[in-house]
Symmetry: C2
Subunit: 177 residues, 2 copies
């Protein structure tokens, strides 16, 4: 199979099924490859194309990707591979939905970002967001999965369940700096 | 300006003008930030949205991003941030258009990839390709810019000129491993 076909979700109908296929494809693409930049680049592409294959609200996802720990500054996230429009480079743990997920090591599912105190507007189009911490070993956070949607209520507990599984796969599949 | 607006090329008409704006936006996004993963992630987004704002053939670009040197294996490229469908993880210098650009340190402008001996088909949809080496210091290659198009003849000397300028900006703007 050529690599691009990993993002072909045609004929897969439900969100559960799309996420299940996404996880299988991610495991296939990570097989034998532990470079975190390489694997996050392909994972961002899989996420983007998975959402675009689904009905609303998922197809309105307008950003899907990753932040990792900034090697220069403790308790700060730095932009990593993503698909979507250009994004904020640095996010302190004290700021926004991403900072909250990293500092608490807990998934943040935000139905309306405008109601989230300290929300960082990298893109004025974003209306809802889910951020899942990537944890390794002894509960150490190495990064986050961040997905934004251009409509309110873009994410639910199905997204939470599968993105937490994906975070587990990614955490274990890469050598982290 | 919110970061996402950096990829707004509305009202910019010619390819020259779009590339000129892309370079200005890239320099703005790189300002004060030398992390190569962060900067390549935003640069891939700028490239993608620049092509999508242009008339055919440029709007048919189906992959835009980067490969860097594989820290594990000499004379091999490894996938870095991109926008588009999932891609080949590893490319030896001896293979394909990307390998040729890295090993020769020369831009490769390929009107028809099917006529290029040893072309690597990460995506069967790709029909033309331009690959520009990113060089630093004493002509050392640190990576490549790779852009694929779903139609033949997707790139010309205007693309070459501006992507070589972008490669110069990127090379100087980042700390490379």
């Amino acid at each position: 199979m050529v690599h691009a076909d990993a993002s072909n979700f045609e004929g897969v109908s439900s969100k559960e099924e799309v996420y299940e296929q996404l996880l299988l494809q991610a495991e296939g693409l990570f097989d034998g490859q532990r470079n975190w930049v390489c694997n996050l680049s392909n994972a961002a592409s899989l996420l983007w194309h998975a959402y675009k294959s689904l009905p609303a609200p998922s197809c309105h996802v307008n950003w899907a990707g990753f932040y990792t720990l900034d090697p220069q500054t403790p308790n700060q996230l730095i932009l990593a591979p993503f698909q979507g429009k250009p994004a904020c480079q640095l996010i302190p743990f004290t700021r926004g939905v991403c900072g909250r997920a990293a500092s608490t090591r807990q998934t943040q599912l935000v139905h309306d970002v405008l109601a989230f105190p300290g929300h960082i507007a990298c893109d004025a189009d974003s209306r809802s967001e889910i951020v899942v911490p990537i944890l390794v070993g002894d509960n150490r956070v190495v990064g986050i999965i961040d997905v934004d949607c251009a409509v309110e209520g873009g994410f639910d507990d199905t997204d939470r369940k599968w993105l937490e599984r994906l975070a587990g796969v990614i955490g274990g599949a890469c050598d982290w700096p």
